[in-house]
Symmetry: C2
Subunit: 143 residues, 2 copies
Amino acid sequence: MKQSISVVTVAVDDLKRSRTFYSDRLGWTPLMDLDDIVFYQVGFGLVFAIWALKDLSDDVGHAIARGSAFSLGHNVESPQEVDAVIARARAAGAGILKEPQPAPLFDGYQGYFSDPDGHLWDIVYNPGLSVARDGSVVFGSSD
Amino acid sequence: MKQSISVVTVAVDDLKRSRTFYSDRLGWTPLMDLDDIVFYQVGFGLVFAIWALKDLSDDVGHAIARGSAFSLGHNVESPQEVDAVIARARAAGAGILKEPQPAPLFDGYQGYFSDPDGHLWDIVYNPGLSVARDGSVVFGSSD
């Protein structure tokens, strides 16, 4: 199996509420906005989708339970940008689970917010993670 | 807020079990394999991480409950490749939640498996989704 993720789909209780959160309040532009699913481009060849829990369950053929034992990392270029994203999320009505603060674990700076369904976004300034021109992720100090 | 995901982290009950599943059984090569977290590159500038639920909870500063109300889409080039990935996942001990089958919703072909923690992988052949040279995702028939 190749190592690849093309689409990250989060299941939501109320698609209208989630659409308002991502499109209107966070200001994201949909790649495709349909009655029952909304797609956003979130990286090179990468799509983020919001879809009703019932629809995901129907597609899988099994009832999917609520729960968010995962986080979506959104890396930015500076601590100030972490502050700005968390401020924007707060204004959008997100829950702020971790106020922006130094992250000793990777010598960076970080905050967490949760979307209307409790899905976690980890807003990160990590000076030890960079992406090369060919898309390779490089860990290690950028010194 | 920019539209971007840099890292997808899934919380796991037993890191050793998950490492065995992804690294040994699915055959993925870690980008970085540490005692308490494993990173895999899964796209252009994109990282997938497995991390203990307790560690994620500690990082967030709130107890994160189990649950997998999300799916990770793994797009491939043909129905045969869907069959092959699901067969590989089955051999790796994954739960097969949906056997490979035609997906009328997008005129493609699809199967779902779940990893040791129940996290969903959606293995998809979607002839109506392509990625342009600059990374833009294009929906619409490739005819």
